[in-house]
């Protein structure tokens, strides 16, 4: 199982990676992208099983990445990790084809609760 972590902030990618490990997903291979453009390329070249993407990124927003991924025909499981968790964000994410939305700040427990059913 391979997880692609997408965030323009290296610090946040480190926090996500560490929390995934603490939540019991340390055995999964984790790869990282620092932009939506890089992530789209890696989705094609690395074939991750799950994409965890930030929402607010330069150049290509997370939602634009998801749109591009779905238009390409990919059915990769895709979730957002975002601080902007409100009704508009949730509806937009769902309508675009996101599988879940995890709110920042997250905890080990919330990470496990959201990703557990996805990673079975």
């Amino acid at each position: 199982m391979r997880i692609l972590i997408v965030d323009h902030s290296k610090a946040m990618r480190m926090v996500v990676r560490r929390t995934l490990e603490q939540a019991g997903f340390g055995d999964y291979e984790m790869i990282e992208a620092s932009s939506g453009v890089e992530a789209f390329s890696m989705i094609n070249s690395e074939s991750p099983d799950l994409v965890l993407s930030d929402w607010n990124m330069p150049q290509m927003k997370g939602i634009q990445l998801l749109e591009k991924v779905r238009k390409s025909g990919s059915k990769v499981r895709f979730g957002f990790i975002t601080s902007q968790s409100n009704s508009v964000t949730a509806r937009t994410a769902t309508e675009t084809g996101a599988d879940f939305l995890l709110t920042k700040p997250f905890t080990v427990d919330s990470m496990r609760a959201v990703l557990g059913p996805v990673l079975v």
């Binding site: 902030s9 610090a11 946040m12 926090v15 990124m57 601080s83 409100n86 700040p105």
Partner: protein, 158 residues
Amino acid sequence: MPLSAIDQQPGNETSTLCIGPEEVSRMANDLFSAMLGMPFNPEPQESTDLSSREVQATIRISGDWDAEFHVLASYELAGHIAADMFGTSASELSKDEILDALGEIVNVIGGNAKGIVDQDCNLSLPCVGRFLGELPASALTLDFDLDGRQLTIAMLEK
């Protein structure tokens, strides 16, 4: 000091929800205590002297609700936060990495505020750099104790 952002603009009917000290405190506590596991006192202290703040991260919310959030810290505290996020010592981090971490702090706070307001708004990308020593007088400015150091969070509703 006004107790909530909406009190600063009583005639602004588009600001139907207020972000006040309690919300800022809760957002910061969720971020520092719950997510990062850092010792954080959610009780704001009276804000007085900003002379020890050296770096700043700013994010803007625009749309049906317009506001700015600023996070100010000494460079040492910014390094301490970054060290926690990166899981290493501050001495091993570059200036860019330290500022990246502070930018992500204000990004989470601004995003959470946008989520609370739940109106049609856009969140900018965080902007980080040296603190120039002054905040607008109308800003809601709160100081917190973060692991024995002073962190300032300021919100300015436009």
